[in-house]
Amino acid sequence: MHYWEDFEIGRVDTFGEYAVTADEIVEFSEAYDPLPFHTDPVAAAQSPYGGLIAPGLLTCAMFMRMLVDHVLLDAASMGSPGVDSVRWLAPVRPGDTLSVRQEVLDARVLRSRPGLGLVKSRFDVRNQIDESVCELISNALFAKRPVQSAS
């Protein structure tokens, strides 16, 4: 189990492997972001993108799944107050395989909630040719490591 103390400033970690499919792009887009270049392969081929691309929010959701699987489910995660910035840097297409690089930028204890600490990280979501497709500066709350009882 990882606690706030384990996320030291400067710590770098890489994790995840997420295979992007056309089916998942179309299903997500029809529900949440129904632009033709996300939902319709024929229209997408004629768009400036030249083919189907994932909605930016789907890239964020796929990033979240990798973060949960590889970090948060083994950590005293207490949610997130928010994301400072997200930049979508390159299109995400069917057949891409995504992974994540995390660098801890800041870590501090909350005055208002002394049992919790805030961790600010830069996340780079990268594709199979190591191109950064999305950069997030994001904040997460973790419980501090419980003090061991002397008894």
């Binding site: 972001d33 129904p34 909605p55 929010l57 964020c60 799944r65 995660s77 207490m78 997200v86 930049r87």
Partner: protein, 152 residues
């Protein structure tokens, strides 16, 4: 179709509502954010949430749905470079009815790509009690009508 020219600075719209169900919250979380407090009441009881609550990314996706489909006509959107200062301010619970308040805060024509302009939006997602559950700022690339007519 709503184009760049149709979005003056100061334009303010309230879009919605959309209602979020427990089944939908759990289905989204199983796929993208399977933390215990997004999967059921039991996993949320001893947390900040108190009972089943939606993934913040689910709230963001529902907000995107209202932004894209909540107007009388579709937005001629060509994508977005990103967003800033996204804050999850309050939990979203099953049965919540969400509205999106969207304001145009700035706009300019693209020099390199005359067929589109950049429109800055301030976005607030509110629940049925008019409490803000999420907010962010974003820029969208929106097609220009005059260019669309040029293309015939």
């Amino acid at each position: 179709m709503i184009h760049y020219e149709d979005l003056p600075v100061g334009d303010h719209r309230l879009l919605g509502p959309t209602t979020v169900s427990a089944d939908e919250i759990v289905a989204f979380a199983r796929r993208y954010d399977p933390q215990p407090f997004h999967l059921g009441d039991a996993g949320a009881r001893d947390t900040y949430f108190g009972s089943l609550a939606a993934s913040g990314w689910h709230t963001a996706a529902l907000t995107m749905k209202l932004l894209m489909t909540g107007r009388s006509e579709p937005l001629a959107s060509l994508g977005s470079p990103g967003f800033e200062d996204l804050r999850w301010r309050r939990p979203v619970y099953p049965g919540d009815r969400l509205w999106v308040a969207v304001t145009v805060t700035d706009k300019r024509q693209s020099k390199s790509r005359p067929e589109m302009g950049l429109v800055h939006f301030a976005v607030e997602t509110r629940n049925q009690d008019d409490r803000v559950v999420m907010s962010y700022r974003t820029v969208s690339l929106i097609a220009r009508r005059d260019h669309a007519m040029d293309r015939g």
